[in-house]
Amino acid sequence: MTHTKGASEQMATGVSVIAGTSDHSLCGWRVRTEWPVPELLPWSGDDRRPDIWIRMGQVPGELDGTVRKHPLVQVNERGWLRFTVRNVADYLVRDGNEVVIDTAHSPDTADVALFLLGSVLGFLCHQRGLLPLHASCVEYEGKVFAMAGHSGAGKSTLAALLLAQGARLLSDDVTVIDIRAEGGPLVLPTYPRQKMWRDTLDKLGIAPGRYLRNTVQLQKFDRKVTDLFQPARTHLDGVCQIHLQLRESGLRIEALDGLPAVRMLYENVYRRIAAGLLGRSDQVFADCALLGGQLAHHALVVPNGLDTLARHGDDLGRLMGGLR
């Protein structure tokens, strides 16, 4: 880990100062951050300049030249994006390579990094022309699958069940895809943590890691899975959309082809509204159409209920292992 005292470069707008920085790896980028992000692995790559800077500073309440607004997001004419999470932080995300964090919290809170590794990662991807899916991603028996679904669909739970079957994790919750990489779509692995609800951890017999939110309705913890992490950029083989069904007692999988696959991908684009505010709607749709034609896509129907699901780890392994 590289530590430097003070920032080596000053920013264009007001920067308050800086305790220290460290370099980490995220999606293969060298990320230099003034805010602690213990979820990330330390940078162990070459001595390139940082790909992304995360700094502390002031974020204006209203961006100059704002052209589009949503309740939590503003975008200005330069494509800079302002994101606010009340009681946590304001984030300014620009040019796909810089994040300014404005927060009253002290660095020991997990909240600021939680949204940095969630929404802000999604915004950076859109600015960099990458496709983020709301999906967890694992490598299992030599194949890489993203498991997509909205919050609460069971992405992390299914990934945890597969990890117990010998899979390795590439990402939890947000799967970053480089559609136009040579040789087909690549997954850019994020970091070796899972974000899980307390009841899921208990049911699967997993010890909770860091408590993620102080004032939550749902107690979320992280789960460190460094030994089960696959950090190399890897070809993506397929996407499964998770469908929870109340009356299912087992798991089944159905192929999705053509337009249903494109629609499924589009509906699972992470921070899709922000992509629209950034003027990228058409590009995102084109990416989904391209990806829809390239890969195997499936609907993965699973029982809605942790008790039932927890008993089906073996079945899940068999189903996923059978996908080609």
């Binding site: 309740p71 939590l72 949204f115 969630g118 919050s151 609460g152 307390r198 939110r213 107690q219 109340l246």
Partner: protein
């Protein structure tokens, strides 16, 4: 704030177990026509449940599960005009929250996006029996919860919910919040009047919604939503909102069933807790 033009919203509000689902199904049958009646699809198409977590997530491009209950509550009024209503200008929303303001002072169901408010109400002694069945508690516990001003659902701290936290308050406060505090001047529909004469009740609702439904259409909708028919369809697995286990959602569908279900002491407790509002609505 740049927003899409406000769509018109109809709030179909009630304390739970007061006929909200029945009314949604009847309005669905009326809107789509009896020939197209399909219970399996109906409840998705009309009376959309506003407290579904994913609707807020989709509208605001966030994961509300990362936010505290208080943070989510402040965001709830921000979603109107941002929810995909499948092109419909007027959207009917099913609501069980009491009418209230957020900590920021914003109305949870703001007047300026409201086309009409329909408030469904039922004798709380019957509500108690139905509530106990639905939520799998005994009747005394149901009576306790109906008298708890802090009563909230989907707010448990250690597990996932598909619904956002909703504040019910007491049965009495719930009624008064919608009838008096909201300023919406709702059309109040009694469950007992639906049981006695659904056709007349639907006519009043149609007048409020501005629907010009013929008498024949209303009669067809009444036929499609007869209790025995709903119950049979549920038994055949065609009702998507069935309860867990073998308990039927459509339980008895009658008015005054409390007389053979509640003890005199239980009925007296309810009358003591909510008597003034019961009297106002003709229940005492």
């Amino acid at each position: 704030m740049m927003r899409a033009a406000p769509r018109e919203n109809v709030w179909l509000a009630s304390y739970p177990k007061s006929g909200n689902t029945w009314m949604r199904i009847a309005l669905g049958a009326l809107r789509d026509g009896e020939a197209a009646f399909d219970l399996a699809r109906m409840t998705n198409n009309i009376g959309i449940f506003l407290a579904m977590r994913h609707r807020l997530d989709m509208a605001l491009d966030i994961d509300s599960s990362d936010l505290s209950a208080e943070e989510v509550h402040l965001l709830r009024p921000k979603i109107y005009g941002l929810i995909d209503t499948q092109g419909r200008q007027t959207t009917i929303w099913k609501i069980h929250d009491c009418w209230m303001r957020t900590a920021d002072g914003e109305a949870l169901f703001p007047s300026d996006v409201t086309a009409a408010t329909i408030y469904l109400v039922r004798d709380p002694r019957d509500v108690a029996a139905s509530f106990a069945h639905h939520f799998e508690v005994d009747i005394d516990r149901a009576i306790d919860l109906m008298a708890d001003p802090a009563y909230r659902v989907a707010a448990k701290a250690n597990s996932a919910h598909f619904h956002l936290p909703q504040h019910y308050s007491t049965w009495r406060n719930h009624v008064l919040s919608w009838l008096d505090d909201s300023g919406h001047d709702p059309l109040t529909i009694r469950y007992e009047d639906m049981v006695a004469d659904l056709a007349s009740t639907l006519k009043r609702v149609c007048a409020t919604l501005g629907w010009s439904s013929s008498d024949a259409a209303i009669e067809a909708a009444v036929a499609a939503t007869r209790f025995d028919r709903l119950r049979a369809e549920e038994s055949a697995g065609k009702f998507p909102e069935s309860l867990r286990g073998d308990r039927p959602f459509f339980r008895r569908g009658i008015a005054g069933g409390w007389r053979d279900t509640l003890t005199p002491a239980q009925a007296t407790r309810i009358e003591r807790d909510h008597g003034d509002v019961m009297a106002r609505l003709g229940y005492l």
